[in-house]
Symmetry: C2
Subunit: 465 residues, 2 copies
C-alpha cells in the first residue's frame, strides 16, 4: 500500500491521499443499515478526469480495488470499499460546469450536491427534478444508484434525466456518451448501462442532466384516510385523473406520528381524525398560473373526498414545507427509533392493496415484527422500516417481503440499489440467466474486477452473508 499511495500522491499530490490512521472512519461506510463498515487502505481525492484516469491505471497495474464515493449518503453499502482497497472520493470534483438555459441542461462533476445544484438551477428559473430526499447527496452517487425520490411520479428518476456522461473505464480510458439532446439511436446505450451500475462498470466524472422550466407555484394537500387500503385504492384514480401530481406519497399512522413528533409540526388535524386515521396521502401540485393551480387544487380535493378521505387539508406553505422535509427525513427517524433495516420494494400501483395486506400478515407471522412505512405510492415504491432485532428472523422477514413484492410483479429495489445490503436477496431472487448476462457485461467493462468489488454481483464475504 505504501508504494501504491506514493504513486497516487504523484498524481494528485500528497495532500490528497490519506492512508492508514489518517483515514477518517466515515470513509468506511455509507448510510446502509445492517452492513459492516470496512476500512479502505487509502482515500484518494482527484481534482480532474485526467487524475481519475491516472489513479485507475495505477490501480489496474496493482490489481487494487477502487470504490467511488460521493456524499456517502447511499442506503445499500455501494460506497463501502473492499477491505484495504482504494476509496476514490469525488469531494474535490464538485464543479457545476454549466447551467445551459437554452438547451435546458446542467453539466456537473460527480461531487456536486443536490442542494447546490438546486440553488444554481433555481437562479436560472430551471429545476433538476430528482429529489431523493437527502440534499447532501452528490450527483455521482445519484447516477450510480439511479436515485428516485418523491417527484419521480411526475418527472421520472435519475435515469430519465441523464443525457450523457464522461466516464473513466477500468482500463483508465475515458469515454464520453450522449450530449445536450434527448434523442439518440447510435448503438448500445452506454449511458443507460452505466447509470444504476453502482460504480462497478465505470467511474462517472461528469454528467449532462436534463433540466425543466421551474414552476413557481405549488400547493400541498394532506388527506387522512380511515384505512391504508383506501389510500392505496385512491392512488390509481388520482394518476388517471390527469392531475399530474408532483408528489404523491403515502405515510402510515406510525410513520406520521414519528415524523411529526420529531419535527414538531402542527398540521391542524383534529384529535378525532388523528385518532381515526390509519394512513395519510400527501399530494403536491405545481403550476405557473395561480388561478389554474387553485382550480386544480379544488378538483383534486373533491376527488380525494370522493375517494373516502376523512378530510382534506390544503396546507399553508410553511407547514407544507415542514411536512415534506420531515417526510424526507423519515429514514433518519426510523433509524433513530432503532429500525433494523429499510426496504425499498416496488410493486405495480394496482398491487399496493394486496402488498400491504401481505405485509401485515408477514409481520404478524414472523416474530411478530414491527413494519412501518411511507413511500412514493404514485410509483408503487414503498419504504418499510423493519424492527426485528433477531438476525435470523429479520432475514426470514425480508425474504418474505421480497417474495411478496416479486410475486405481485414488483422488484427488490426502486431507488436504493443492491449494493452490499441487498446483494444476497438480489442474487437469490434474480433469474440466473440474467445474472449470467450481467456478469458477462461486467467482464466486458472490467475484466480484472477492480471497480467496486463486493458490490452488486460479487460477494466478498460481507457479514450480512
Amino acid at each position: 500500500m505504501a508504494e501504491l499511495a506514493s504513486l497516487l500522491a504523484g498524481i494528485v499530490g500528497a495532500a490528497h491521499v490519506l492512508t492508514g490512521d489518517q483515514v477518517p472512519a466515515e470513509y468506511s461506510h455509507d448510510e446502509a443499515l445492517g452492513v459492516d463498515a470496512r476500512m479502505p487502505g487509502c482515500v484518494v481525492m482527484p481534482a480532474s478526469t485526467g487524475e481519475v484516469a491516472g489513479i485507475v491505471k495505477v490501480a489496474a497495474a496493482h490489481g487494487a480495488p477502487v470504490t467511488a464515493r460521493g456524499g456517502g449518503t447511499g442506503m445499500s453499502g455501494g460506497a463501502i470499499p473492499a477491505q484495504g482497497g482504494i476509496v476514490m472520493s469525488f469531494e474535490r470534483m464538485d464543479a457545476i460546469v454549466d447551467i445551459d438555459t437554452v438547451n435546458h441542461v446542467a453539466v456537473v462533476q460527480p461531487g456536486v450536491t443536490l442542494a447546490r445544484l438546486d440553488v444554481a438551477t433555481a437562479e436560472a428559473g430551471l429545476v433538476y427534478p430528482v429529489f431523493p430526499g437527502e440534499n447532501s447527496a452528490c450527483l455521482g452517487g445519484n447516477v450510480a444508484t439511479n436515485a428516485g425520490g418523491m417527484r419521480a411520479v411526475k418527472y421520472g428518476v435519475t435515469r430519465h434525466q441523464v443525457l450523457g456522461i464522461e466516464a473513466v473505464l477500468a482500463s483508465g480510458e475515458v469515454i464520453r456518451t450522449g450530449g445536450r439532446f434527448v434523442k439518440e439511436s447510435t448503438g448500445y446505450d452506454l449511458t443507460q448501462l452505466i447509470v444504476g451500475s453502482e460504480g462497478t462498470l465505470a467511474l462517472v466524472t461528469e454528467a449532462t442532466l436534463r433540466l425543466y422550466p421551474r414552476p413557481e407555484l405549488q400547493a400541498t394537500l394532506l388527506a387522512p384516510f380511515g384505512t391504508l387500503e383506501q389510500v392505496t385504492r385512491a392512488i390509481p384514480e388520482i394518476v388517471a385523473s390527469g392531475a399530474e401530481p408532483l408528489v404523491l406519497e403515502y405515510i402510515d399512522m406510525l410513520s406520521m406520528a414519528a415524523i411529526t413528533a420529531q419535527a414538531d409540526i402542527g398540521l391542524g388535524i383534529s384529535d378525532q381524525i388523528r385518532a381515526t386515521a390509519q394512513a395519510y396521502l400527501v399530494l403536491m401540485l405545481e403550476g405557473y398560473q395561480p388561478g389554474r393551480l387553485e382550480t386544480d387544487t379544488e378538483v383534486v380535493g373533491e376527488l380525494l373526498a370522493g375517494l373516502g378521505a376523512l378530510d382534506v387539508y390544503v396546507l399553508p406553505p410553511h407547514s407544507a414545507r415542514q411536512l415534506l422535509e420531515a417526510r424526507e427525513k423519515a429514514f433518519w427517524v426510523a433509524k433513530a427509533a432503532g429500525a433494523d433495516d429499510i426496504v425499498d420494494i416496488v410493486v405495480p400501483r394496482s398491487a399496493l392493496p394486496r402488498f400491504f395486506a401481505r405485509v401485515a400478515q408477514i409481520s404478524q407471522e414472523i416474530g411478530p415484527s414491527l413494519v412501518a412505512g411511507c413511500g412514493h405510492a404514485g410509483d408503487g415504491n414503498v419504504h418499510l422500516a423493519v424492527f426485528q432485532p433477531d438476525p435470523a428472523l429479520r432475514s426470514h422477514l425480508l425474504r418474505e417481503l421480497f417474495t411478496a413484492g416479486l410475486s405481485l410483479g414488483g422488484t427488490i429495489s426502486g431507488e436504493h440499489g443492491v449494493g452490499i445490503a441487498k446483494q444476497r436477496y438480489f442474487l437469490e431472487f434474480t433469474d440466473p440467466v440474467k445474472i449470467g448476462l450481467m456478469r458477462r457485461v461486467k467482464q466486458a467493462f472490467d475484466p480484472q474486477g477492480i471497480l467496486n468489488p463486493g458490490v452488486l454481483l460479487d460477494r466478498l464475504g460481507s457479514s450480512d452473508g
Copy 2:
C-alpha cells in the same frame, strides 16, 4: 438450408416457413435508401415465445444468422438479412396482451402495429405517445431502433416508454426484465441495453409500455417565418415558456411546397406570405379543458408573433390533421421526388441556427447538391433529404453533414438507427474505445454473432461500403 428449413418447420409448422422462390422480395429490404436488398434463405413466422426460442436454438446449432422483422418500415436497413440467412418475421405474434388501465401500461407482442395500439389505447382513454410517423410500423421495430417521432418533445422516445421486455437470447434462453412500474435499481438495466440495439443483442418477444391519460383536446398552430434562422431561434423560447407543446416541428419551404402539393392541403396561407416564407413552424398543444387550451393557444400565438412569425394560423381540426399526416409522409414525398438519401442528425437545440448555416454552405460546396428538410426541431432532430445522384459526391456530402452535426455536439442518428445504411459513418466517427466496449457487450450477449450480423457493428460487405 433444406435441413434447417425442415427443422424450423418442425417448430412452427411447414405453412410458416418460406424458402427459396417462395420468399417474397419484400423480406429482402426495408425502407432505407442507398442500401442493397439481400434475399434471405428462409422466412420463419413463429407464433409464440417458445417457438422463437426453438428457432434460435436451431439457428445457433447451425451458426445461421437470424434477422428480426416487424413491419419492414425501418429507415436504416436494420431488417435486411444476411444473404441466405433466416428472417424471423413477427407478423403472427401480433397480440395486444393487455391494456392495463390501472397501472397505465400496455403489454404487446412485437408484431403489433402502432395503428392498432393507438385504437386499443384510445378505447381506454389512454395513449401510447410515440408517433414516429409510420403507423404500419410494429412495436418490435420501434423498440429495436428506439423510435422517436413528433411527440418526443413532450413525452420522450421509445426508450422512455419501455418498462420491461421479454426477450429470447442468442442461446435460446428467455429472459424477462422490468415490469408494470417506472422505478428500478437492481443491477444493470438490460431493458435499456436491448432497446435500440437493432436486433443484435436479443429478440424482443413482448414489451411492457408506458401509457398516459389521453388528453382529448388539441390545437394546431402554423407559423410561417421569413428565414429558417428565425424558426430555429424561436424553438428554445417556446420550450422555455413552459407551454409544453406536444409537437414542435419545422418544415422548410421546399418540403412544405412538396408535402402540401402532394396532399392537396389548403392551409389558408396568403400568396404573399407563401412567397415570402422560407420556413414554417408547426406547433400542437393538447389539454383537457377547452378554456385552458384556448388561453394557451392565444399565449403561444402571441409568443410566435413576437418571435417574428409572418402570421400565425390556428388550423381547423381537419386541416391540422391533413398537415400533420402530410408531414409524417414527408419521407415518402422525398423518396418520390428522387431523394438519394435521408439523414437524421441531432444537434442541441441551441445549435440549430449554426447547423443550418453550415448545411447551406456544404450543399453549395459539394455538387452543388439539393438538401431539403423538416424535422423535430424541438428536439434538435433534423431530417434532411439529400438529392445528389453521384455516389462519391453524396458520400462526401453526408460525411460533411455528420461532421457538422458532431462538431456542434450532436449525433449521427436520433431515431432511424445505424443499421447498414449509416454503419460506415457510425464506425468512422465513433470513438474506437466506445466501439470496443460495444463489441464486447455484443460478445457478452451473442458470442457466435448470429443475431443480425452485418448491422450496427459488423460489416458484411454491404454495397454502401
